[in-house]
């Protein structure tokens, strides 16, 4: 994980948008313009058809995050954006590891590593095995480091997905915005 500098904080930004071409560029440009590196980004459709959810992890200072999120919300096709510190979200990442099948045959050590890390095997092929591990970035990295001596052929990690702890529903937020707006 990227280290924090000065009074930086790590923030998870959840953005609900219309599912429209080009919106990803519009949103990432808000960070690019301020020279903020995106540490992690995932986009997917929500359970509501036509509404996408962006989960973006960045590092910035507490006095800038509000300004940035308001710039995101200002985009015409953004419904609402929220930002959270790590303690305000339950978050998870998924990692996949590809290893040669023979390392399982030749040693019990790998099996122990998988058990200790609560990882699971999802595919066994004659030449390779794919292992899956969910957890925080530190946890998926720890497993990678432990497997490394056995020859990890490939390692891939998803971006962070997160669910916020605050209980207020998006539709309530939107209804509130609707109530205070004139069109």
């Amino acid at each position: 994980m990227q280290p924090l500098e000065g009074n930086q904080q790590r923030y998870t930004i959840s953005i609900f948008t219309e599912d429209k071409v080009g919106l990803l560029s519009r949103i990432t440009a808000i960070f690019t313009r301020r020279k903020i590196n995106i540490d992690s980004l995932t986009v997917s459709e929500t359970e509501n058809r036509g509404i996408s959810r962006f989960t973006v992890v960045i590092r910035t200072t507490p006095d800038r995050i509000g300004v940035i999120v308001r710039q995101i919300e200002k985009q015409v096709e953004v419904l609402k954006a929220f930002y959270y510190t790590d303690d305000q979200v339950v978050y998870q990442e998924l990692a996949l590891y590809k290893l040669p099948t023979e390392v399982f045959a030749s040693s019990k050590a790998v099996e122990k590593i998988l058990r200790d890390n609560h990882a699971r095997v999802i595919t066994i092929e004659p030449e390779f095995i794919v292992i899956e591990k969910t957890g925080h970035e530190e946890e998926t990295t720890k497993l990678f480091n432990e497997l490394k001596p056995y020859g990890v052929l490939s390692f891939v990690r998803s971006g962070r997905i997160a669910i916020a702890k605050p209980m207020k529903l998006l539709k309530v937020h939107l209804q509130e915005l609707e109530n205070i707006s004139v069109f």
Binding site: R53, R70, E73, I180
Partner: protein, 590 residues
Amino acid sequence: MRTLVQLDEAELNTAIHSQNQMGPPIIEKKGISGAEAVVLSLLAEGVECVFGYPGGAIMPVYDALYDYRDRLTHYLVRHEQGAAHAAQGYARVKRRAGVCMATSGPGATNLITGIADAMIDSTPIVCITGQVGKHLLGTDAFQETDVIGISMPITKWNYQVTRAEEIPEAIAKAFYIAQSGRPGPVLIDITKNAQTEIFDFQYRKCLKIRSYFPKRKVDMNAIQRAAELLNNAQRPFMLIGQGVVLSGAQAEVQEVAEKAGIPVASTLLGLSAMSVHHPQYVGYLGMHGNYGPNVLTNQCDVLFAVGMRFDDRVTGRLDCYAKQAKVIHIDIDPAEIDKNVKTEVAIIADAKEALQALLPLLEVKRYPEWMARFREYNAIEYEKVISKDFAPNTPLPKMAEVVHLLSQKTKGKAIIATDVGQHQMMATRYYEFDEPYSNVTSGGLGTMGFCLPASIGAKIGRPDREVIAIIGDGGFQMTMQELGVIMQYHIPVKIIVMNNNYLGMVRQWQQLFFDRRYSNVDIQNPDFVKIAEAFGIPARRVEKREQLSQALDELLNSHSAYFLEVMVEKEDNVFPMVPAGTCIADIRLE
């Protein structure tokens, strides 16, 4: 049970409202081309004129324009940048979106400077660009450019149309978005196939977009708190910006100032929202603004900002800007609140509506001592700066003298379009604006070349008013080809080029901050009078102070366009000046 429901944070009640809410059909026509649909859509939005330039990918639309030439006037600019600036000039004085049109590739990229200018100065313009056919997208086809990608960060919204059926709704959304909330530029890129496809056209105005909340109701709690702060203030100070102009809140500003006795200063883009002759008006803010309003910003106890965004040219260094004051900020754009200056009371609303709500809660107040402070500083500025700027003590007239005389002759009633640089600061300092919607300038972006095309758009938007373009010799050469538009359509814009044979503002900075090392500011100019005459525009050059008054009369009395070149003092500087990155209190008078 409760948690199961509430954890579903992303659940969206789509019943709240559908994606776009459209009005009833106002125009219908069966079996027409996408190109004709573009023209009919513009007419449905009440568009009277378009500034543009044809080319391959937009030819079907130009073909449709031919059929509607009696209802929709197209002004052929000489460079697409001119089309965007003309649309801006039109929008600023007409108070509705200006429209510009260009072909794909270079046509579209030439619009970019104007779009960026409109974005930062919140000017509603609708740009329509042609694009290669859908099957050619992404193939590096002739004149294909990713215009959506390029214009994304400088448009309020943009959209690529690839089917004719999308045209009416895209254009309806474009006008709605450009003109609502905080206005701005939008761009619609239309592939050539969409222009030629035949479909059944139906136009509905856009009333609402699900994800877009352009304007909020006035929050009476915030208004109450603002009123308390203002009623208990000892030294309140009101700053007005373009938000006042955009919302048409000039009368409300005046009423608030009169009732509550608050002194009012304006930003560059707020100029002309309040008459300079109003007793509560104390001047102009910013890097080259007036002495009193700048210095006293750091002495007021309540700073009341209306429709302005605390630009760095207004605030100087932020850590020494109005630190002693409690700040009330009215802005329609929530993203402006606390962006640069932390506020005590934020009122996210239309300026006019907010001031109307505030007015009855304000107590009648007078601050004779506080107002006197402004007059004291103004007297110092008059002695140290203004009287010198006006003094006829140089071989050639000074820019300030030209503007001052022009202001007297027009009684402050003309629309003044300016370019960027020393002449712009002199014009905005010394033109005594006495009529609203009279200031057309490039503020945020500082675009040299803005003035001439913007003045053309302004004159087309307000043919009933005198429009005077004041331009420097450098900026004039950036878009002077637009004289062709003035010639072709007989647009009676009055042009004054103040020529010091220098890129004056850069030279001033080199003099003050770069040890007089005049690097590439000495510009060799062509014979401007001959150029204007070549475009059939009556023209004259003034080289002596004694000729100036009569030349200005000639310019103002002309029924056609007129070009006046005034040779001005070569090394004139604009003061006061808050050097970039310093505190406003450190404003220099010399």
